[in-house]
Symmetry: C2
Subunit: 341 residues, 2 copies
């Protein structure tokens, strides 16, 4: 977030009603199913026929989830939406609408407020999610951005965490560790320009939720269980194993870690595999796939074009998640847990 | 919130997964329409047939919306749910489910965490709202409780802000000013015991959202416009007038202010009418009613038993909201606006 001159107009100068008006002015025309949008006590929505609603919520708090010294305001909005859309993707749902709650420090520059909203709306609209309501409050401390998102899915297409079966393949989208490397680069004082979306810092600041992949997995019935990596791969694998009453054996050599990220970790004197397994906020999907369905992987790849899918291991009958590396098998390092540090 | 011994177990000692487990342990059996509840990436819900979804969200931030020195932990949870259910009531909706996002200071006693959740769940279950998901994070500063709530309403029964017409009566539920007087009593160091729900402090700490009244107004087609008082009566009247393209004339003598509250304000040397108009968080409903429909008021009163309904004024063709008092007509004082002070 660029430093603002002390005379910049702030949200404290502007007032709640005027801030809500600034959001309304940024909204595209309402879809026909949105009967009452931003501005009444609540939004009113016509449910989609023959679909289930999928509901998630994700709170982002300054100094915990982001640091305004190196996360630009538009990225704060983008990341908050990404976290929610990623949860919907993990269930195979198509995004439909979201609500936005903001707790704003009084000295937040108005330009940053606009950028947060623009960042959120830009990502939402790319995935056809409509902002239908929200809530603005002052915050005496950190900036708080809390989003709830609702998507829909056909009843029998839903993906959950609990379906992994022994001998299923464990498949991961994209790469892991890049967001963590990007965060570490920010913390080390490096900066990315606005257009370096493919840089490690870009992967951290503007993660891409795997909405199309989730939809494809659901539609094609390709996954037995699915989860997103918001708290890191190690955490996701543990949760999938636990929910399915199974175990997993992961092949360290198969883990897709970008060369840039690997180099960054090595130069920093840390183990790339450990970092990539523990690092949260990559927002990739990990899913399991029955051996009978592995022919569907090609169709899935076609739909989620450009996105690499990597088989990283196998589901086992024995509980526990182990990492096979250099001929040894070790328990997986723990994922990110709030309060844990 | 009672002071805890420094050795009390805190949420920081407990960890995110264990906190989520504590919430799950408190939940009643899931209704049949909740296909996936707390514990997956998102909740999955079967929509209600032939109903519209009504969606609201409301954030409560420590030091802005409450002060833990005099709002007990269970009241923090209760009030956060009340704010959301009140929004649903204002639309005539029946509550169905909610999500809960928490930002927790690391030193929050675990007993207080439990009490926040219990306070929220107790009020939710009284109004048949089911907790379906949420999100727990650490907060580096204030305690943050953000709730989104979804209710349903029959398509043609929906109440909105925009239907007030000239000559409609302006009707208010319950009394106003009590919550503000209760807050002021807390700030002055007075304390209420746990059972004094009818005291002014109880009206502040455990407000009762007017869910049954909203449902009755919707079902009986009795209101032309409706809104809740979360930001005070003055603000609500201004919004109703603005949304309807009308004005209002309010009779100061008709405003229902409890004797206790009136006495408190008078002893404090402030004007009871001004305080009652400006004070937020009474969570009453104000609605307008066509002269043709005023016969329905008795049926509404019967359904919302025990709740007083008071005619406080009339809708006018000329825009603006005026207060008739001692033979004078003045513009209404402003309501509570965040950032305004």
């Amino acid at each position: 977030m660029p430093e603002s001159a002390p005379t910049a107009i702030t949200v404290g100068d502007t007032g709640e009603h005027a801030l809500i008006a600034r959001i309304r002015d940024r909204l595209p025309p309402a879809p026909s199913w949105l009967l009452v949008g931003v501005g009444d006590d609540a939004a009113v929505i016509r449910p989609e026929r023959n679909r289930l609603d999928v509901v998630t919520t994700d709170i982002a708090i300054e100094h915990v989830h982001f640091d305004r010294r190196f996360v630009r305001a538009d990225a704060v909005g983008h990341r908050a939406v990404a976290a929610n859309l990623s949860d919907l993707a993990a269930m195979g749902a198509s995004p439909r609408y979201l609500t936005l709650s903001l707790g704003l420090p009084r000295d937040l520059p108005l330009a940053d407020f606009d950028a947060i909203v623009d960042g959120a709306l830009a990502l939402a609209s790319r995935h056809k999610a409509v902002l239908v309501g929200g809530n603005i409050s002052r915050s005496p401390g950190p900036l708080v951005v809390d989003i709830s998102a609702v998507g829909t899915v056909k009843p029998r297409k839903l993906l959950t965490r609990s379906g992994a079966r022994p001998d299923d393949a464990v498949v991961l989208s994209g790469t892991i560790g890049s967001a963590r490397a990007g965060l570490q680069q920010c913390q080390a004082g490096l900066q990315a320009g606005p257009l370096q979306a493919e840089s490690l810092i870009g992967r951290f600041s503007h993660p891409e939720p795997r909405v199309r992949l989730g939809q494809a997995l659901a539609r094609l019935g390709a996954a037995s269980a699915c989860m997103d990596l918001s708290d890191g791969l190690a955490d996701a694998l543990s949760q999938l194993a636990l929910a399915g009453g199974v175990g997993m054996e992961i092949d360290a050599d198969a883990l897709p870690i970008e060369g840039d990220a690997r180099q960054w970790f090595e130069r920093s004197g840390v183990d790339p595999i450990t970092e990539a397994l523990a690092g949260g906020e990559d927002y990739e999907l990990v899913f399991t796939m029955s051996p009978r369905h592995q022919g569907r992987l090609r169709a899935v790849t076609r739909v989620a074009h450009g996105l690499t899918l990597t088989r990283i291991g196998v589901v086992t009958k024995e509980p526990g998640v182990t990492l096979r590396r250099n001929g040894r098998r070790d328990a997986l390092p723990a994922g990110f847990e709030h309060f844990a540090n």
